[in-house]
């Protein structure tokens, strides 16, 4: 069994009275693409914040590359190769696409000119090469999502946390992005992605974790998980799995 790249053990966090994440434990194996799904409000983005150091857990640990990084500042874990994107995109609006991506490239490239060149190369991978000199604020939603991805890629991550990178994209944009994400994993990057777009999950993910009300309720291949009655109930409500089964039997 290969050593897990990322290990979460017993992660929990509470806001006021709300238990946003409860006792979550899972592994992410290297060079895999894992999806994290669940109904809205399940705590997925909160979990990402815990993994990437934007929030400190009330309990539990996060191990990355065998090292305890629980609560480590995001910029530090980024230098170790853990980067994330945001559900609501956060471009550097006043700067151009090239400059945006270059900030990511600078993590490993102190020279400005080389960072800008690296930015061009990364832009190619996400099909933004025609927009390099556009201010980020002028991009469409799809463009900004790709920019978000490109910027994280430029930082040469080993583990990339993608938070709904396909949300807000139209079907043809999604079709374009799926192979790009596949390509990232083929290049050796481990990806953990929060996603609602089910066909992307089905076609991309090797393993799926399901989060509902802060707890991990299922894990397995995409097929396993989508036929799991507990998962169906989490999305569609109590008793639905039973009803579906009965409806199918008629």
């Amino acid at each position: 069994m290969s050593e897990a790249l990322l290990q979460a053990r017993g992660l929990s966090i509470t806001f006021g009275g709300l238990k946003a994440v409860q006792d979550v434990s899972f592994d992410v194996l290297p060079r895999t693409l894992t999806a994290l799904v669940g109904p809205n409000g399940a705590g997925k983005t909160t979990l990402f914040a815990l993994l990437s150091g934007f929030l400190k857990p009330g309990a539990g640990t996060v191990q990355y590359l065998g090292r305890d990084i629980t609560g480590m500042a995001p910029q530090k874990s980024a230098r170790l190769g853990l980067t994330r994107t945001f559900q609501i995109v956060q471009p550097f609006g006043a700067q151009t696409v090239r400059e945006n991506i270059a900030v990511g490239a600078h993590l490993h490239e102190p020279d400005r000119r080389r960072a800008l060149q690296a930015a061009e190369a990364v832009a190619q991978r996400v099909n933004l090469q025609d927009n390099l000199d556009k201010p980020a604020a002028d991009l469409t939603v799809g463009g900004r999502k790709r920019l978000e991805l490109a910027r994280a890629l430029a930082a040469q991550p080993r583990l990339l946390l993608l938070d709904e990178v396909l949300a807000g994209l139209n079907p043809s944009e999604i079709d374009e992005m799926i192979p790009v994400i596949r390509g990232i994993v083929d290049d050796g990057v481990t990806v953990l992605m929060i996603e609602h777009v089910m066909r992307a999950v089905m076609s991309l993910a090797e393993h799926v974790w399901v989060l509902a009300q802060g707890r991990l309720i299922a894990g397995g291949t995409p097929r396993d998980v989508t036929s799991d009655p507990t998962v169906i109930e989490a999305y569609l409500g109590h008793g639905t799995a039973e009803r579906l089964k009965q409806g199918g039997a008629r």
């Binding site: 929030l55 910029q75 980024a78 945001f86 956060q90 006043a94 900030v103 960072a115």
Partner: protein, 339 residues
């Protein structure tokens, strides 16, 4: 690099004008304009490129000025020696204030307020303690000689200030083409996104405030040399803080030439006002305030047009806390009113 060429051109033009012009009035105009430009450039580093709006920037000006005066008067230092010392003191104060405020995550309006509070505290202290001359201030004896960093004619001061202005221009150009500058602007535009890709916001902001304070302290030291006098009202008062800020907003924050243009225009406007209405105290500040309001209302990107919209700088109206549901972190409006 295009930037370097235009900076050189600017330097040659101004130096040439200073060397050739004979009129005291013209030389004074250039000297005071350069002084205003230096103030603006300093503020631009932290406020324009760093996005941290300081309302009490006079703090660094004042410590530089007092350091310059005290070193000469109390320790008998040569002013050329006092100058780097004054700058160092400015940097030290900048780092201390920065460490206190940035570590606590103070941003936006709160940062502006705290800088104002610091300036006020220093002003009150300076007016109360003897070694700053208390309410009377400090007077450096007039002794014009190059060795004493005092010049018989304005021309000498023009060159002194021009040196600093060019240095600030070069530094600003470096910001535009370096990793540090890229990181600084990333922190300004979106601190969380910057953190996610490896930028340490506190370190970057500390660097910015240190450089900004350095140039501001240099301006303060030059002031002492030019006018041989400093008191707490001038050193830490709101006039300097406002001048530094308005020039940048008017010209265009976060640009290379915006502060130069803005400060020069403002100074010219102030001069014109003084010519029209005489030395009525407060009249030029009325103009400054009105211009600020009008620019923010109608030309938020400043005269250069390429200047950052002021609003982009003022992200994050409240201090950041780590412990918060992520959805709220992305919303600037965090507080509920308890009315």
């Amino acid at each position: 690099m295009r930037d370097v060429r235009s900076i050189l051109l600017f330097g040659v033009l101004v130096a040439g004008a200073a060397a050739l012009l004979q009129s005291g009035v013209a030389l004074t105009f250039i000297m005071m304009s350069l002084y205003a430009v230096l103030l603006a450039q300093s503020w631009n580093i932290l406020g324009g490129y760093g996005g941290q709006l300081s309302f009490g920037h006079a703090l660094f000006f004042g410590v530089g000025a007092y350091a310059q005066a005290i070193a000469q008067l109390t320790w008998g230092w040569n002013p050329w020696l006092a100058l780097p010392f004054a700058i160092a003191v400015g940097v030290a104060v900048g780092l201390i204030v920065g460490a206190l405020t940035f570590r606590s995550g103070l941003r936006g309006s709160y940062f502006a307020l705290v800088t104002l509070a610091f300036a006020e505290v220093f002003r009150i202290v300076a007016v109360s303690v003897p070694f700053t001359g208390g309410g009377v201030g400090l007077m450096v004896p007039l002794h014009a000689s190059v060795a004493n960093l005092q010049f018989g004619s304005r021309r000498g001061y023009v060159f002194l200030l021009l040196g600093f202005v060019l240095a600030a221009l070069v530094f600003t150009a470096w910001l535009r083409h370096s990793r540090f500058g890229a990181y600084l602007q990333a922190v300004r535009d979106n601190e969380n996104a910057a953190r996610a890709i490896g930028v340490d916001p506190v370190r970057i902001k500390l660097g910015a405030i240190a450089w900004s304070a350095a140039f501001m302290a240099a301006a303060g030291a030059c002031y002492v040399q030019m006018f041989q006098y400093i008191d707490s009202g001038i050193a830490f008062g709101s006039t300097i803080s406002v001048e530094a800020l308005v020039g940048v907003i008017v010209g265009g924050a976060g640009t290379l030439w915006g502060p130069v243009l803005g400060a020069a225009v403002l100074y010219g406007l102030g001069e014109a006002t003084r010519n029209m209405f005489g030395e009525v105290p407060g009249i030029s500040m009325v103009i400054y305030g009105a211009v600020l309001v009008l620019i923010v209302m109608f030309m938020p990107r400043g005269l250069t047009g390429a200047g950052l919209s002021v609003r982009r700088m003022l992200k994050g109206a409240q201090p950041q806390s780590a412990q918060q549901p992520p959805a709220q972190q992305q919303d600037d409006r965090k507080e509920e009113a308890r009315v």
